[in-house]
Amino acid sequence: MGNYIARRLMQLVPVVFILTVIAFGVTMLLPGDPALAILGVQGAGDQEAYQALRNELGLNRPLPLQYLTWLGNVVTGDFGESAFNHQPVLDALGQRLPVTLELGLLSMALSIVISVPLGMLAAVRANSLTDLMVSIVSFAGLAMPSFWLAILAIYLFTDRLGWLPASGYVPFTQDPVANLQHILLPVVILGAEATAGLVRQVRAAMLEVLGQDYVRTGRAKGLHEVRVIGEHAFRNALIPVVTLIGLRVARLLGGTVVIENVFALPGIGRLAVDSIFNRDFPVLQAIVLMMAVAVLLFNLLVDLLYGILDPRVRYT
C-alpha cells in the first residue's frame, strides 16, 4: 500500500510539471497585462505610468525567462507576490483557503448526508410515490442554476425575513455563531446542486446492485431486509458513488466561484475571478496549479478508498 502511494505520487510529478507550463501559459494568453488592468480605462493612455509598472512587475523580460524564474521559485515554495496589491501569494491563498474549504467541505458533507439516504430510499421504493417525489425535487434542484437559487434565498432570508446576512464572512475562531450565520446560505445553495445530482446517482447505483444475484441470494436465505440493504447492497453501491463524489469535487470548486461572488465571501473562487480581471498573473498561476493538484490528490484518495470498500481491490 505504501509503495503504491509512493508510486502514484511519483507519477504525479511529470503531470504537475506539465501543469506548470499550462498554468503559466494560459494566464499569459489573456489579452493585456497587469499594468493595463491596474491603470484601467482612465489611465491606460499614460505611457510613462504603463512602462514604469511593467518594469516594476518584471513584464519586460523575455517570456521563457519569466517562466523559468517563476518555476524555480515555485519549486522552492516561493509563489512570489501579487502583481495587483503586492500581497505575498501564499499569504493571499492562506487567507482565502479556509473560507473555501469550510464552504466546500460543509456543502459536500451536507449533500452526502442528504443524498445517500434519499437515493437509497428512492431505489428501495422504486416507482413508488416516494421515488417520484424524490425524483421531482432532485430534478428541480438540477434544473435551477445556483446563482438564481442564491438570489431567491437572499430575497427570502435576508430581505423578507431578515434572519441571515447575505454577504461577508466571519472566521469561526473569531465568532462561531456569526460564522455559521454567514456560511449557512452559501453552504445550502452550493450543496443543493450537488445533492440533487448525487441523489440520482445513488438511486441508480443502488437499483443496479439490488438487481444482483447476491442480493436475491441473501433474501432467499432469509436475511433480514435491513441486513440485505444495509450490509450487502449498500457497500457495493458505494463504489460508483465514491467515484462520483470524487468527480464532484472538481465541480464543487467551480461552484464556489459563483457562490462566493453572490455572497461576497472572500474565498479562493472570488480571488480567482478578481485575479483574472486584474491580470494578476502570480496569484492566478498559483490558484490554477493548486486547484489542479487538489483534484489530482482527490482522485488518488478515491482510488485508495476503493480498497477499503471492496477487499477485492489490491494495490500492488
Binding site: D33, I38, Q42, A49, N85, I154, S167, R270, F277
Partner: protein, 544 residues
C-alpha cells in the same frame, strides 16, 4: 484675500450661517428639479441633536478592491474611506449658470498672485495626521512632490500645470505654475477625487508598499483593518480638527466599514435588511424600487459624478477614418432620445454635445448638433459614395449597459446601411485592443462629469490619455490650452463653445445622455453632504 476673476477662483471664508443658507438654497433647487434633496440645508434643527455612536456601513464603490490604500497611487478615484482629506472642497452653487465655489478643508484660505502664476495657501492649523505627526507646509509640499513625480501617481494629471511648490512659512505653501491655470482649484480639490494628503512620516517609516496596507491621513477615521476581499474598516480618530453641532470633535460615528460586495443584488438586499447604511453606485433600473421603499432614501445631487456613454468613431483608420461624410451619416442615424428612453429609466438628461452637459462651463444648448434623421443619414451615405452600405465593427467593454446600447446602435446603423458587427471584449482586453493600435471602427467608453472643462483634455486632446478613438484636431488642442490659461469664466465659456463647434464639425464623437450619480441610503442616515464629484460623509450620523 480678494481677487474676483470668477466665481470658481474666488477665495473666501464662508461663515457657517452663510454656508447653511447656501446649502438650503441649493437643496430646494434640487427638490424643484425632482431629485431627492440632501439634508444639508434642511436638518439644521435636527443636526443640533445629532446622535453619536454606531458604525457607518457602506460598500466600496464599484465593487472592486483597490490595489492600495494610498490615495495617490490607487487607481480607483475617491479612495479616501474617510481617512484622507483634500486641501479644498469644491461645490456647485448654481447649475444653470455653471457657478462653482471652493471651500476650505485642509487649507483655510488662499490667494492668487497678481500675475496668476502662483497661488498661496494658508494651511489649517492644529491638524495632525493619525500617526501623530503634524500637518504643515512641509507635509503639503511633500505630498505635491509625490503626486507630481511618482511614476505610478494617479493624481499626476491633476497637478500637471504645477511647476513646483514652495514652503513660504511653516503653515503656508505657494504653488508656482508654469502658465496660468484656471482649472487649478478644481483639479486639486476633492472634485478630482485624487488629490488627498497622507502622512509623510508614516510613508517614510513604512515604505511605499507597507504604507498602502497601513495608511495614515488627517480624516475623521483612522485606518483599522483591511481584510482583503472583504472589507476596509476605520475607527474614530479622536484628534480630528472639525467639530460637530454639539461642539465636540467629529465624527459622530465610532467606526466605518467599507464592504466589498461584487453583486448589486446582494448589496441591495443588505441595504433593505438594514445591514448597510449607504449604497453608492445604483443602476438606473433599480431606482424605482429604492424610491418605493419608505425605509430608504434616493440620493442623487447634481454634479456628484455620473457618466455619459461616449461613442467614438475612429478618425484615423478603418471605415470611418478619412471619411467625414460617413461619420456624419453615423451620427445622424444615432437616435439619442430613443437611447435615453430605453436606458435612462427617466433619470438621465439628453446630451447632444459630447462631454458638455448642464453645469459644465461652456455648456450651451444652442450649439449645433446632429439630430436624428433616418432619411438625411441615408442621403449622407449616398453622398459618401456608400449607397450600397459599408461594414463596420463596434468594439465595446463587456458590461450589460454597454452591450445593450451597442445592440440598439447596431439596429440604428443597420437601417441606414452601416452594417455593424459588435465586438464585446472584457475590460482589459478592450484597453489592450485600443491602446495597441489595433484596428477598430467605433468604440464606447464612459465620459466623466468634469469639475472643470479643462479635465476634458484627456478625452479631446490628440495626446489625451482617454482619447480612445484617436480623435485629433490641432485647433481643439490649441483651444483647450488657451481656455486653461484664461481665468475669466465668460471668455472660457466662449472658447469651450468653439471647441464644441469643432467637435461637431469633425463628427467623431457623440454622447446620448448623461446619467447622474445615484446612491441609496437608509432613512436613518443623516448629515450627508455633497461636493462636485464626491459625497462628503464626514458628518454622517445614525438616527436610530
Amino acid at each position: 484675500m480678494s481677487s474676483s476673476r470668477n466665481a470658481a477662483n474666488q477665495p473666501f471664508r464662508l461663515s457657517r450661517r452663510a454656508f447653511l443658507a447656501l446649502s438650503a438654497a441649493r437643496a430646494s433647487g434640487i427638490a424643484a428639479a425632482g431629485a431627492m434633496p440632501l439634508r444639508a440645508g434642511t436638518t439644521r434643527a435636527a443636526q443640533q441633536s445629532a446622535k453619536r455612536g454606531g458604525t457607518f456601513h457602506t460598500t466600496i464603490s464599484g465593487g472592486s478592491e483597490p490595489q492600495t490604500l494610498n490615495p495617490t497611487l490607487a487607481s480607483a478615484p475617491n479612495s479616501n474611506y474617510l481617512m484622507f482629506e483634500p486641501l479644498i472642497r469644491y461645490k456647485l452653487v448654481d447649475q444653470a449658470t455653471s457657478t462653482y465655489q471652493a471651500q476650505p478643508a485642509l487649507a483655510e484660505s488662499w490667494q492668487w498672485a497678481p500675475d496668476n502664476l502662483s497661488i498661496t495657501f494658508q494651511l489649517r492649523s492644529g491638524v495632525t495626521f493619525h500617526d501623530g505627526s503634524a500637518w504643515n507646509a512641509d507635509a503639503a509640499k511633500w505630498n505635491f512632490d509625490l503626486m507630481m513625480t511618482n511614476p505610478k501617481s494617479f493624481a499626476k494629471s491633476f497637478v500637471t500645470g504645477i511647476d513646483h511648490v514652495e514652503v513660504v512659512d511653516p503653515m503656508q505653501i505657494r504653488i508656482v505654475l508654469s502658465a496660468p491655470n484656471a482649472a487649478l482649484l478644481a483639479n486639486i480639490s476633492d472634485a478630482s477625487a485624487r488629490v488627498y494628503f497622507i502622512s509623510p512620516t508614516q510613508y517614510q517609516t513604512l515604505g511605499e508598499e507597507a504604507f498602502g496596507e497601513q495608511p495614515s491621513g488627517t480624516g475623521p477615521m483612522q485606518f483599522d483593518s483591511w481584510v482583503k476581499g472583504s472589507m476596509i474598516t476605520g475607527r474614530r480618530f479622536g484628534g480630528y480638527w472639525d467639530k460637530g453641532v454639539d461642539g465636540q470633535p467629529l465624527p459622530y460615528v465610532d467606526a466605518s466599514e467599507y464592504r466589498l460586495i461584487p453583486q448589486t443584488a446582494t448589496a441591495q438586499a443588505e441595504l433593505r435588511a438594514g445591514n448597510l447604511d449607504f449604497l453608492p453606485g445604483l443602476d438606473p433600473q433599480d431606482v424605482a424600487g429604492i424610491k418605493a421603499n419608505s425605509d430608504l432614501t434616493f440620493v442623487s445631487p447634481p454634479a456628484t459624478g455620473g457618466f455619459s456613454v461616449c461613442l467614438g468613431l475612429n478618425q484615423q483608420q478603418g471605415a470611418f477614418g478619412q471619411n467625414p461624410k460617413l461619420r456624419q451619416a453615423a451620427l445622424t442615424a444615432f437616435n439619442r432620445d430613443a437611447i435615453l428612453k430605453t436606458f435612462g429609466f427617466g433619470l438621465g438628461t439628453v446630451a447632444p454635445h459630447p462631454y458638455w452637459t448642464e453645469g459644465v462651463i461652456g455648456y450651451d444648448a444652442s450649439l449645433p448638433t446632429y439630430n436624428y434623421n433616418e432619411d438625411a443619414a441615408k442621403q449622407l451615405m449616398s453622398d459618401a459614395g456608400l449607397a450600397d452600405g459599408v461594414d463596420v465593427t463596434l468594439t465595446v467593454i463587456q458590461r450589460p449597459l454597454e452591450q445593450q446600447q451597442a445592440e440598439v446602435i447596431k439596429q440604428m446603423w443597420d437601417t441606414v446601411g452601416i452594417r455593424t458587427t459588435i465586438e464585446v471584449l472584457e475590460r482589459t482586453a478592450w484597453i489592450d485592443k485600443l491602446t495597441s493600435g489595433g484596428s477598430f471602427d467605433a468604440a464606447f467608453w464612459r465620459g466623466i462629469f468634469p469639475a472643470d472643462p479643462d479635465q476634458l483634455s484627456q478625452f479631446l486632446s490628440t495626446d489625451g490619455v482617454s482619447n480612445w478613438s484617436s480623435y485629433s484636431d490641432p485647433q481643439v488642442d490649441q483651444l483647450m490650452i488657451q481656455a486653461r490659461s484664461v481665468l475669466d469664466v465668460g471668455q472660457r465659456a466662449a472658447l469651450y463653445g468653439q471647441v464644441q463647434q469643432l467637435v461637431y464639425q469633425d463628427a467623431c464623437l457623440a454622447t446620448a445622455y448623461y446619467a447622474p450619480d445615484m446612491s441609496a441610503a437608509r432613512s436613518w442616515l443623516q448629515g450627508l453632504d455633497s461636493d462636485v464629484n464626491t459625497l462628503w460623509t464626514t458628518g454622517v450620523w445614525l438616527d436610530k
